[in-house]
Subunit: 333 residues, 2 copies
């Protein structure tokens, strides 16, 4: 049975395609800024991103679109996918109606410009270069929180953007259990002097081309579909999706400690797999992407830690490491 | 003196920035489709491109924007840059008002999908794979010509899109002189049996990585600014500009006859240089890009043929070829 059958929902999805297309373009622009864009292109990119972000806001909060969403919400007998479409769009509209377009514009533009400054500051290990951008971003986010509104803590408004309904209080609740427990473990480790010794592998240098072949071979082993997905390089690894059939991950090559590059690939593979396994019928709809940052991170860490950091996994990828890097041959599993 | 001083023109450029941003995004989407996009992403990309192309059309032909352009056109004492802005926008609006959005949508979507089909057909040397796409594109362009209107020949309407005012009749006029003259040369060459013999270099194989270093070194020698420009790989070389500070060229690596890769780089360098030398003050305005396809091709062929295919140029790049390819050392200049 088709997921979308209600005629009003179908009309809504048809109209939404234009809004989705802006999202698609902005995802690509974000990916490109972190991977291939020439550095001097930053003002053009930041301007275009801010313009399209506010255009997106204008289209999705337009009277015409909002009334169509309202009409859809009043339909009888919607299935769970159709209700999902209405729910996600209603939430997005509610959020974007609270944010002044000028603030949206400024925060978008500043964030884009900040990335290039951050990259340079990172390369030079010079926090002062990045500081003014960070201060401005924090200030703009404070304004954002006030506009969005909150009950207890300004950060609740921002947290909700990434993890619907999560509050600072909830996060504190989690950490209030974790922190003392971890401290007990740490105390015992310290008092008993029980540390794992660093492996010489953490200092062993590798050739970038060889390491890239390792990453590609591991992804191939994991079933990463190269006709729907890519692996590129960026200063900080990330995953981004342009749609169900175009998902891209990145890693970095520091030239030593190969597991840092490898595990970031396995981590991002987890994010990517989540997006790649979304039902193609949901592609280009408001419910055609991951549910939240938390669910996403659950996927990525599952692959990185539960699968990746095991002896079984090492045994499987061992032949790749030995073949491409060579120096691993001197070590037992 | 600033190029834009009239307040109505300034307001117009401010409003135009959103339209420019869509153009920026579509340029990047086009570049990405030909260079890095995973092949299965084609339907998403084609859909997004068609949506944004029609959104662009809607914004630039909106009553609000059109009346602002009209108001600008009636201003007294505009300088030549300001008049240029009005002229270019008026032309764009006139063209886009004639095209039905549905035709614009279909032609854009078909062209995007056709690219992926063409790439596969090219790789397999199988014209039949591409034929239905080409037929549809021709048919849609015929419709486009009828909508745009023409006096003598349907192709005049399409020619005008690339070279303002040029007619089929003019092109025939050029060829009616060139053709018999070239035929005379050809006849003499044939009757006297005077052919240049093929060089064994045309069959000599090269390593892609070495050839890439050649291309990069030659671009560096020519002053190609890597903080504002890129070189990538695509099945057919092209140049595209996202703005004055982000211009990208491509080449291809067939693995033999190194001059094919090299001269396409020099050719595209000509296109790129034209865009890179545009006054930064014109960036993100309607007059911030090349004037026409003809002027563009004049730039690229100047670099490829007048500069590139000379003994002087070969002497300058010779050390690069000898160092990276090696096999050129066996030849005299």
């Amino acid at each position: 049975m088709a997921k979308f059958e209600n005629p009003v929902i179908k009309e809504l999805l048809e109209r939404y395609r234009r809004i989705w297309s802006l999202e698609h373009a902005m995802s690509l622009m974000g990916w490109d800024e972190e991977t291939y864009m020439p550095s001097q292109g930053v003002v053009e990119r930041a301007t275009a991103m801010a313009e399209l972000r506010t255009l997106y806001q204008e289209l999705i909060t337009s009277d015409q679109f909002v009334s169509l969403v309202e009409r859809a919400s009043k339909q009888e007998g919607l299935n769970e996918y159709e209700r999902g479409v209405v729910r996600v769009l209603t939430r997005e509209i509610t959020i974007l109606k609270k944010i002044p377009p000028s603030l949206n514009y400024e925060l978008t533009k500043t964030s884009q410009e900040a990335f290039i400054a951050w990259r340079e500051a990172k390369a030079k290990s010079d926090f002062q270069m990045f500081r003014p951008y960070l201060e401005k971003i924090v200030e703009l986010n404070r304004q954002m929180a006030e506009k969005l509104g909150y009950e207890e803590n300004p950060y609740d408004a921002l947290l909700d953007l990434h993890e619907e309904g999560l509050r600072t209080r909830d996060v504190r609740g989690v950490f209030s259990v974790l922190e003392p427990a971890m401290k007990r473990v740490l105390d015992r480790v310290t008092s008993e002097g029980y540390f794992s010794s660093p492996s010489p592998l953490e200092e062993t240098k590798y050739e970038e081309a060889a390491m890239r072949r390792v990453n590609e071979a591991v992804l191939s082993l994991l079933g990463y579909p190269t006709d729907r997905a890519r692996l590129d390089v960026s200063p900080h690894p990330f995953t981004i999706n342009m749609g169900v059939n175009d998902v891209r991950i990145t890693t970095r090559y520091e030239g030593f400690d190969f597991k840092r590059s490898l595990f970031s690939v396995v981590h991002e593979f987890g994010h990517a797999t989540y997006e790649l396994q979304i039902d193609p019928e949901l592609d280009m709809t408001p419910i055609g992407t991951g549910a939240s940052l938390g669910v996403h991170e659950g996927q990525s860490r599952f692959w990185e830690n539960v699968v990746g950091r095991t002896l079984s996994f090492v045994k499987v990828i061992r032949p790749i490491l030995d073949r491409e890097l060579g120096f691993t041959r001197a070590y037992s599993d």
